[in-house]
Subunit: 212 residues, 2 copies
DNA sequence: TGTACATCAGTGAACGCGCGTTCACTGATGTAC
DNA sequence: TGTACATCAGTGAACGCGCGTTCACTGATGTAC
C-alpha cells in the first residue's frame, strides 16, 4: 500500500513532533508511526535523522527567505524606513510564508528556539550556509533606522529583540491558554503580533534619559 | 578512594553539561566521568536522572528565591516603585544568588530556557510547587507599576519581557564572543545587564502613540 | 575496653530496552530493442 | 507487440550500541552493651 506522498507525510509528522518534544526526544519510530509510513522510509528518503532535521528547517526557511527577500526589495527601494515598518515586514514574512506551506508560525519559531537551545552544530552550519544573506540585508536596514546607536548597543538590542520575538511567537499557544483560563480573554495570533510590534520597537528604540 | 563530596561534584558536572548540551543529550556516563565519580553514584544519591535534574534546578532556585524574597520585602515596604527599580531588583537577585553558589548567571538562565524549550512535565510541576509564591509576589508589584494597562496587555508584555530577559542572559557568552570577534568591543556581564534593563522597561512601558 | 551488629557511601558488572541504521527483498513502473 | 532488464519506492526484520537502572558486594565508620 504505497502512500501518495511519503516524503510530505514524514516532514509534517517530524515538524509537529520535533516542535512539541525536541529533536533528541522524538524517535524516528514516533515520527514514522504518526506519519503512517515504514520506519526505514526516513533513512531511504532523507539519509539520516540529522538530514531529516535539516529538511524540516529547509521547508520553513526557503519560503520565509523568499518572502522576506521580496519585501526587502521594496523596503530598500524607499530609503529611511522606520523600525516599526521593518519589524512588521519581517513578522509578516513569517506569517505569510508559514501559511503558504500550510503550517503554523508558532511551530516555525518553536523549532528555531529549539535549534538555538540545543545547539546542533550541523544545523547551525546548514542555516548559515543557506540563509545568512537575507538575514544580513535585514540587519543593514535595521542599523540604518538607528543611526545614533553604537555597534555594541545595536547588537545587544538586536539580540534582545530577536530573543523576545522568537520566544513570544513560539509561546503563543501556552500564553493564550493561560489568559483564556484565568481571565477569559482571547487573543488571536494577529492581535498578539500587533501587541508584540510596539514592544519590539521599545527594545530597539530605548528612550534616552534626556528624552523623557 | 572516596571523594570529599560526591553529591556536589555530580551537581556541578550536571549543571555544566546540561546547560551546554540539554538534558536528553547529556548521559549519566558523561556526568559521572566528568565529575570523577562512579556511574551508580547518581542513582544512589539522587534516585534517578529526573530527580538529578530537579536537584540541579533546586540548587539555583532556592538561593534565588531567598534573595528575591528579601528584596521583595523591602520593595513592598515602599509603595509605588517604578519598573526600572523592580526589574533591577530581580536581575540583581539572579546575579547575587548565582554568585553565592559559585555559579554563573548564564548557566542558570540557560537551564531555565532549556526547561522551557523541552517541556518536562515533572520539572514544571516541581518548579510551580516550590517557587510560584515568590513569582506571584513579584508579578503583583509589576502590575501595580503599570496601572493603566489591561490584563491581557499586561500579561503579553510580561511574557515578552521574561522571554527577552532569559534569552539574553543565557546567550551572553556567544553574543559577547561575536561582538569581540567582529568589532573588538568587550561587554562585561554587568554592562550587558545595564543595557538590558532599559530594553526590558521598553517592552513593558510601551509609549502610546499620543505620548510621543 | 572489646565485640557484634548496623549504617552508609561507594563500586563493578550486568540487565533489558529503545534507539538509529542497515540490508536483502518485493512489486510496480519505465525503457530498450 | 513482446520480452528482458533497470529503476525506484517501499518493506520487514535484524543489527549493534548506548542508555538509565539495578544489584550484590565492599570497606569504613558509628553504636549498643
Amino acid at each position: 500500500m504505497p502512500q501518495i506522498d511519503t516524503v510530505d507525510r514524514i516532514l509534517h509528522a517530524a515538524t509537529v513532533l520535533f516542535a512539541e518534544q525536541g529533536f533528541s526526544e522524538t524517535s524516528l519510530r514516533a515520527i514514522t508511526s504518526t506519519a503512517g509510513v515504514n520506519l526505514a522510509a526516513v533513512n531511504y528518503h532523507f539519509g539520516s535523522k540529522k538530514e531529516l532535521i535539516q529538511a524540516v528547517f529547509n521547508r520553513f526557511f526557503v519560503p520565509f527567505c523568499a518572502e522576506l527577500e521580496s519585501r526587502l526589495d521594496e523596503l530598500e527601494a524607499t530609503p529611511d524606513q522606520d523600525l516599526e515598518t521593518l519589524l512588521r515586514a519581517a513578522l509578516q514574512a513569517i506569517l505569510v510564508s508559514t501559511e503558504k506551506i500550510d503550517e503554523r508560525p508558532q511551530r516555525f519559531m518553536k523549532l528555531v528556539s529549539l535549534g538555538y537551545a540545543q545547539p546542533q552544530e550541523h544545523l547551525r552550519q546548514f542555516l548559515v550556509a543557506n540563509f545568512s544573506l537575507s538575514y544580513q540585508r535585514f540587519i543593514v536596514l535595521l542599523k540604518h533606522a538607528m543611526p545614533e546607536v553604537s555597534h555594541t548597543e545595536f547588537y545587544w538590542r538586536l539580540y534582545f529583540m530577536m530573543g523576545a520575538a522568537v520566544f513570544n511567537l513560539s509561546s503563543y499557544d501556552p500564553i493564550r491558554a493561560i489568559l483564556q483560563l484565568e481571565y477569559n480573554e482571547d487573543t488571536s495570533l494577529e492581535e498578539a503580533v500587533e501587541l508584540l510590534i510596539p514592544s519590539l520597537v521599545g527594545i530597539l528604540d530605548v528612550p534616552n534619559a534626556g528624552k523623557r
